[in-house]
């Protein structure tokens, strides 16, 4: 049942102008969501800089929010609906500009409810900047 609902969420996420957010209530569910997304043809990463260079070929991507990725994913999610994304990789200092292809891209953020609560305390309020949210 849950699989069906999640797949519907994946389907609905396609063609959206904002990133979607899948919130797992536990680590187990987090792993399950990973699996659903992979089944749905998504590739996953927590490294947005790598993802950016592959978005031409991979239109379906899920991005894992964790301690290393939270800040940059927040920047990315904030800019995504504005028609252009500028990101600077602090390691390489490479400044990239990316234009979303709303019709063909499907980008989903993935994290747990608990982690989301944690990062909100650090001013990264993802709920306010994403579009569709899935929570079981």
């Amino acid at each position: 049942m849950e699989s069906k609902k999640f797949h519907q969420f994946i389907k609905d996420s396609q063609g959206q102008k904002e990133l979607s957010l899948a919130l797992a209530k536990s680590d187990e569910e987090f792993i399950k969501f990973h699996a659903f997304l992979t089944e749905g043809g998504y590739i996953g990463s927590d490294d947005i800089y790598t993802v950016l260079s592959h978005l031409e070929r991979h239109k379906k991507v899920y991005l894992v929010i964790n301690n290393t990725s939270a800040k940059v994913l927040y920047d990315f999610a904030t800019q995504y609906p504005t028609g252009q994304v500028n990101l600077l990789n602090p390691k390489t200092m490479e400044n990239k500009s990316f234009t979303p292809d709303y019709k063909n891209h499907s980008l989903i953020l993935l994290t747990t409810s608990e982690y989301l609560k944690h990062i909100v305390k650090h001013d990264l309020d993802f709920i306010n900047i994403v579009g569709m949210v899935y929570k079981s």
Binding site: T78, G83, M93, S97, T99, Y102, L124
Partner: protein
């Protein structure tokens, strides 16, 4: 109320209302013609009248335009774009505070996509590393041999936006500005100060490399969510730092009307661009006026005195928390920055009406810092008092200021009324009436001085009171000579364009109107060489333009011959020629008065619909075209009436013996009773001919004379 003597700025903060009448914020949009809110040509785009030049240099950092095809230009968004455009034009760093959902970043990016400007975006939320913004040394990724340096400097997000590149314009967006770490704010303020000075940014991050920066090429836009109000980590900014920015307070949530409009537009109901009343447009001439020209604007000293009082009163309102009490972000009206900004605003946007331009500036820099409508209204009320009554100096009014009834002219009107009463009274002896009737108003020394200067410029093409009187064989009444409404530069330009300066009067000596019929009656066969004034008047002897129209009492600049390239054209095409003549010749190097700007915009808006019917054979259609063409402000401002055309030809002939428009008609701004447009000209020895035609007609002997009186 605005100029009521009881009003005092000093009373405001003490609780005195200074006037309880509500201030009209906008004019009734129904009475105004809608303009295009966003007007684009190959090289520029105007946002509610504020024109920005495009950049044509392509770059990966310029947003793609097709991403914004679904952008809704509702009133809120258009006004936001206008505010951003003003800051870009002025080179002011702008800080926009507003809720997350109002589309701040999208709006800036959409404008950049249209303008071809690069976007360099940095979200300061949680950013602690100055080097991410300003740059740092990294291992050289291109090192291929031992001589290559181990490390190279790589620009940060801000540095890449600061570097000048040929033809590029760059916008640095600093998002979530008030969530920034203090060390970052300090560094960014150094950058802003350098931009303001048009100086250099020293990159301490790169062995003190000097980057030359300019606010012409780089604009900084900071975006913030309101501190508090549910936004985590948003502390108010220090007001002392805020003074560097043009702070614009936007709403936390979209106004209901905007929400409704944009939602309906998204579902295909109604337009995607909201109609905006003319009063919200802000016209930006191509060039700002100079400090010297600013000083010459009539009434400037008076308005500056009022402004100083206003500034103090506005500060006091803030200090006493009588406005902005519910805004968590503290701010003040800065004693140095605000006057500096206002002066640049007036210089840039001066539209000929100093009161209006000054007040628009105050709205931009003062009222826009306030969120709630009651606070804004309080400041609006103060602003309505920042005005001047232009002195009777229409040479300065010439650069566009509207004619304001002055106490002096009011007195004159009263005096005229008294004389009228005396003249109609049976108790006053005829000798007194005769004395009064014969009394001529002495010319003021100022007007005499103006005329002297104009005569020096125009020579024989100066047709003043003496020349007019002589031309009409002393049969005209010149009871009042208006001051010349043109600046010296305008007169010199007119001379260069082969125009003459003529005083038009409207009364014959017997007090009757100086109609075509009257001119013909007074002078036929009596002018130089006993020539005729009008050729056969048969077809129009009962027409209103012949029997009733009289000239307006004014000084006019009139082209001695038809405007180049104006013949062989229908009336609409001629109007286009006049529009180009205005833009490219008359006001090429001068400030165009606002009325001409309005007229040109109206023409641009109307011409396509007129073009569809102007050459129609259907009577109803060509007549409608003629009606519309006659009503166009551009034609009313730049063509003669038939009476004026005749008047000008005769006065000039009497003065010089030269027949102007000898082989050419000028198409006037009046229709005849059959719906055609009247033309006047071919001033041969048999007299001036008058004809009429459909607006779609054209001929090699049908051109247009240019005439303007403001």
């Amino acid at each position: 109320m605005p100029n009521s003597p009881e009003f005092s700025f000093a009373n405001i903060a003490e609780g005195g209302s200074g006037g309880k009448e509500p201030v009209q914020l906008q004019e009734d949009p129904k009475t105004e013609l809608p303009k295009a809110p966003i007007l684009e040509d190959e090289d520029s785009i105007s946002y509610l009248g504020v024109k920005l030049e495009k950049s044509h240099v392509s770059s990966a950092f310029v947003p793609e335009r097709e991403k914004y095809t679904d952008y809704i230009n509702d009133k809120f968004s258009l006004e936001l774009q206008q505010k951003i455009a003003v800051s870009m034009l002025q080179g002011d760093p702008i800080l926009i505070e507003g809720g997350t959902s109002i589309g701040k970043t999208t709006t800036v990016r959409k404008m950049c996509a249209e303008l071809g400007y690069e976007v360099h975006y940095a979200n300061l939320n949680g950013a602690t590393d100055v080097e991410d913004l300003m740059g740092r040394y990294i291992p050289n990724p291109h090192k291929t041999n031992p001589e290559d340096p181990e490390y190279v400097f790589a620009d940060g997000k801000v540095t890449s936006g600061l570097r000048k590149e040929e033809g590029k314009k760059k916008i640095i967006i600093l998002d979530e500005f008030n969530a920034s770490a203090p060390n970052i704010l300090i560094r960014l303020h150094e950058v802003i100060d350098a931009l303001e000075r048009g100086g250099e940014v020293v990159l301490s991050e790169d062995a003190s490399e000097v980057v030359h920066v300019s606010h012409e090429d780089t604009k900084i836009i900071a975006l913030t969510n309101p501190p508090g109000k549910g936004y985590f980590g948003r502390e108010p900014l220090d007001p002392a730092q805020l003074r560097r920015w043009v702070y614009q307070k936007e709403v936390t949530e979209l106004p209901d009307s905007t929400f409704a409009f944009s939602t309906e537009a998204l579902f295909g109901i109604g337009s995607r661009t909201e109609e905006i009343p003319d009063s919200l447009y802000l016209d930006s001439p191509d060039q700002a006026i100079s400090r010297e020209q600013l000083a010459e604007i009539s009434g400037m000293k008076e308005i500056l005195d009022k402004y100083q009082e206003f500034h103090k009163a506005a500060k006091e309102l803030i200090k006493q928390r009588m406005v902005a009490a519910d805004q968590p972000q503290p701010f003040t009206f800065d004693d140095r920055m605000e006057p500096h900004r206002i002066s640049r605003f007036v210089a840039r946007f001066y539209n000929g009406d100093i009161n209006e331009t000054f007040q628009r500036g105050l709205r931009y820099y003062y009222v826009n810092k306030l969120e709630n409508s009651e606070d804004r209204q309080k400041l609006e009320e103060l602003i309505s008092h920042v005005s001047c009554t232009p002195a009777v100096d229409s040479r300065r009014r010439a650069i566009g200021e509207p004619e304001t009834k002055t106490p002096e002219s009011a007195l004159k009107t009263r005096a005229e009324k008294e004389i009228e009463d005396i003249m109609s009274s049976s108790e006053i002896p005829d000798s007194v009436k005769a004395a009064l009737a014969g009394k001529e108003t002495p010319l003021s020394s100022e007007i005499l001085e103006q005329m002297k200067e104009a005569k020096e410029i125009f020579g024989n093409d100066f047709l003043g009171p003496e020349e007019v009187k002589a031309a009409f064989l002393d049969q005209v009444e010149i009871s009042e000579v208006p001051s010349i409404p043109f600046s010296k530069e305008e007169l010199e330009k007119a001379r260069e364009l082969e125009q003459m300066l003529i005083l038009r009067v409207d009364k014959a000596k017997d007090g009757s109107d100086l109609t075509m019929e009257k001119i013909h009656g007074l002078l036929n066969g009596k002018i130089k060489d006993e020539a005729k004034v009008l050729y056969s008047v048969d077809w129009y002897k009962d027409e209103e333009f012949y029997k009733k129209d009289k000239p307006e009492v004014t000084w006019a600049l009139v082209s001695k011959e038809a405007v180049p390239d104006s013949s062989d054209k229908n009336y609409l095409e001629q109007t286009e020629t006049l529009a180009n003549y205005l833009r490219n010749e008359v006001f090429k190097t001068l400030i165009m008065p606002a009325k001409y700007g309005e007229a040109l915009r109206e023409f641009e808006k109307e011409k396509a619909s007129i073009a569809r019917i102007v050459e129609s054979d259907k009577e109803s259609e060509w007549k409608e075209a003629a009606r519309k063409l006659e009503a166009l402000k551009l034609n009313q401002l730049t063509r003669q009436s038939p009476t004026e055309a005749l008047y000008d030809l005769i006065v000039r002939y009497q003065q010089t013996g030269e027949r102007l428009m000898e082989n050419m008609y000028t198409w006037t701004k009046r229709r005849d009773s059959g719906g055609g447009l009247v033309c006047v000209g071919r001033f041969e020895s048999v007299g001036v001919r008058v004809g009429g035609g459909r607006p779609g007609d054209w001929s090699g002997i049908l051109g247009v004379s240019f005439s303007r009186s403001l």
